[in-house]
Every structure is written in structure tokens, then in C-alpha cells.
């Protein structure tokens, strides 16, 4: 972070965006905005899955944390297995993106946030019955009061950013 100013603006910006964020755009291509509709299309499928498999249900999260149903463990376990195999295949075959770019998956570095922050999120997850993805899906599915949860989550993110330097990492 301190050395960011000595680097080129582009690298510094990438580092800033990367800052402990898992989801980073590794592509260097610049495309018009409507190229992003590819992500909306997958998002629509994703939202349908979230509702139809009842992953957005507060009840299902209760069942999971009470160890009284296999459903959510099955969903997450299968997703990880499919993801794992896909990443292995992509690495083995040195697959490129549809625009011919080399695929790069950034490594995570450990910091204390993955303990403290993750614990706080876990506590909140069991109360709200929603991680960030299902928040959007609950609102879309018509549970309008979840807008309050969503705004609070954005506020939580902002407060984290505001006090980031003072928190143990």
C-alpha cells in the first residue's frame, strides 16, 4: 500500500482493487458496456437457481446450521467439486478466455480478517439467512424488507473501508 505511489497508475489501481478482494477483473481488455450483459445473463440463471433450490430461504440456512438437513451441504459441496475440477482442467489445458487472454487466478494471502471478519459474517449469516448473493435474490423474489438488510450491508462495507487501517489484519 505504501509503495503504491511509486508504481505506475495502472498497477497501483489493480493493487487497490485487489486489496483482499477475491473477485478481481484480471482482464486488461477494454470493452463497451454491453459486453457486461454476458454476466447479467449468467446472473439471471444464478438467481433462478438460488430461488428454485431454496438457497435464499432463511429456513434452509437454519436447517444447515442446526445440522438437520443435508441440502445446503450438498449444494456447497457439489459447487466446490465442480469448481475444483473446472479450475484443474483450465490450468491443465492452459485454456484461454474467449478473447484469447491467458487465464490468471490471483492467490490469496492470509490476514487476520479471514478469522475475525469471517466470524462476524458467519454470525450475521445465521441471523439474516443471507450471504451477499442471496440478498440480491431475496429482494428480486419480492421480499422487499430485505432492502433494509442490503442497505445495512453496504453501510457495513463502507464502515469497514473507513476504519480499515485501525483494524487488525
Amino acid at each position: 500500500m505504501e509503495t503504491a505511489s511509486q508504481q505506475t497508475p495502472a498497477t497501483a489501481d489493480l493493487q487497490q482493487r485487489e486489496l483482499d478482494a477475491m473477485c478481481v477483473n484480471e482482464s486488461v481488455l477494454k470493452h463497451p458496456w454491453w459486453y457486461n450483459l454476458k454476466y447479467s445473463a449468467w446472473g439471471i440463471l444464478f438467481g433462478i437457481v438460488f430461488v428454485k433450490a431454496e438457497i435464499v430461504s432463511w429456513f434452509r440456512i437454519q436447517e444447515m446450521f442446526r445440522f438437520e438437513s443435508f441440502h445446503m451441504y450438498g449444494v456447497i459441496g457439489t459447487a466446490v467439486m465442480v469448481g475444483l475440477i473446472s479450475v484443474l482442467l483450465i490450468k491443465r489445458t492452459k485454456a484461454r478466455t474467449i478473447y484469447g487472454e491467458e487465464i490468471h487466478i490471483p492467490d490469496k494471502t492470509f490476514n487476520k480478517g479471514q478469522v475475525y471478519g469471517a466470524l462476524i459474517f458467519g454470525l450475521g449469516w445465521a441471523i439474516t439467512g443471507a450471504c451477499p448473493g442471496p440478498l440480491f435474490a431475496q429482494i428480486g423474489a419480492g421480499y422487499s424488507v430485505v432492502i433494509v438488510t442490503f442497505i445495512s450491508a453496504v453501510a457495513g462495507t463502507w464502515v469497514y473501508g473507513r476504519f480499515r487501517e485501525k483494524l487488525p489484519h
Binding site: 489501481d13 477475491m22 473477485c23 484480471e26 450483459l37 454476458k38 454476466y39 445473463a41 449468467w42 446472473g43 439471471i44 444464478f46 438467481g47 433462478i48 438460488f50 430461488v51 428454485k52 433450490a53 431454496e54 430461504s57 432463511w58 429456513f59 437454519q62 436447517e63 446450521f65 442446526r66 438437513s69 457439489t78 459447487a79 465442480v82 469448481g83 475444483l84 473446472s86 490468471h104 492467490d107 490469496k108 492470509f110 479471514q114 471478519g117 469471517a118 466470524l119 458467519g122 454470525l123 450475521g124 441471523i127 439474516t128 450471504c131 451477499p132 448473493g133 440480491f136 428480486g140 421480499y143 433494509v148 445495512s152 457495513g156 462495507t157 463502507w158 464502515v159 469497514y160 473501508g161
Partner: protein, 187 residues
């Protein structure tokens, strides 16, 4: 066919489709899967307030906002065109436990005893929506990811910090469910 789609989808179908998000995003645009980052991009776009954490080119990450917008739209479609008319089938012990706390309405995906605007202005509602939501937003960003970024993308690419984060998510959820929620639910 439509009748089959309207039934709740089994875990393996949902899990496989969610898992395929990882290669889809990588192959289509070199993007790593993660949803909680969208909350950060919203902060960066709407209220950066000169905070270093929010001073970056969020427009480059706009794909993530298109993705979550799609999630909301997909959920709208599923809830309005493909919805299952039957009540949610809960595990019997969970249903009995929740009934003992006064939560019996299983006609929809969320219990109406909690998820309503009337409830928002009670102490319980304040905790469930405002404080709970705050913890989700604060915690995921502090942890550097949520269930998608750490548990799915992180574990898929064998990142050990993600394994720690995922275990802590579960520990937090279990502590809340077993030791704190029993009191919160009766507020």
C-alpha cells in the same frame, strides 16, 4: 416439463450450476467469482468519501454489478413465473424447534413472522435486518470475500486462507444459531 421446473430443485443440480459459474467467469472474461465485492463497488461508486479503500476504478469492475443485477432479475423470474405453490418442506426437527419459537408460517421461502415491514420496527427486526445486514457487509469485506469468493472460488482454486475463512463462517453461524438466536427469536 414446466411442472418439474416448478418443484424445488435438488442440491446436485443447484450445486453443479453454481460451481459452473467459476469456469464461466474465467473463460468469458478472466474474472474470479465473488459477490460481496459488489457491495464495495457500490461504495466506491456512490460514496467514496476520499477513503483509500474506495478509490479505485470501480467501472472496471462494473461486470460484477451486472452480475448481481442479473441475480435479482433471475430471482424475480423464478418467484413470479416458476414458483412452487406448496409450502417449503422443512426437516421435522427444524420445523418443531422453530414452532417452539413461534415461527410456523412455512408457506413461503421466508417466515412471515420475521420478514415483514411491521417487524422491522421491533427490537428483533432491528437486529435481524439492520444489525444482521451490517455484520454481513462488514464481515465479508473484512474477511475479503463471502461464501462465493472464499467457499466456492477460493476452495476451488485451493487457497488455504479461504479454507480458514470458510471454517470461520461456519463457526460464526453455528454459534449464532445454537447460542444467540434462541434468545433473539423470542424477543
Amino acid at each position: 416439463m414446466l411442472e418439474a421446473i416448478k418443484q424445488p430443485w435438488p442440491w446436485y443440480v443447484a450445486g453443479a450450476l453454481i460451481g459452473l459459474t467459476v469456469p464461466y467467469l474465467l473463460l468469458v472474461g478472466n474474472k474470479t467469482f465473488g459477490i460481496s465485492s459488489s457491495l464495495r463497488h457500490l461504495c466506491a461508486a456512490c460514496l467514496p468519501a476520499n477513503i483509500k479503500f474506495f478509490k479505485y476504478d470501480w467501472k472496471k469492475e462494473a461486470w460484477n454489478l451486472f452480475f448481481v443485477g442479473g441475480i435479482a432479475l433471475g430471482a424475480f423470474i423464478a418467484a413470479n413465473l416458476l414458483s412452487n405453490p406448496d409450502p417449503i418442506e422443512l426437516a421435522v426437527p427444524t420445523a418443531e424447534y422453530l414452532a417452539s419459537k413461534g415461527i410456523t408460517d412455512t408457506s413461503s421461502l421466508q417466515p412471515s413472522e420475521i420478514f415483514s415491514w411491521d417487524q422491522l420496527f421491533t427490537l428483533r427486526g432491528l437486529i435481524f435486518f439492520v444489525i444482521g445486514g451490517f455484520m454481513v457487509g462488514f464481515g465479508t469485506r473484512y474477511a475479503g470475500g463471502c461464501t462465493s469468493g472464499h467457499a466456492i472460488m477460493g476452495l476451488s482454486s485451493l487457497q488455504w486462507p479461504s479454507l480458514i475463512a470458510t471454517m470461520m463462517f461456519m463457526i460464526g453461524g453455528i454459534l449464532m444459531t445454537w447460542f444467540i438466536l434462541p434468545t433473539l427469536l423470542t424477543l
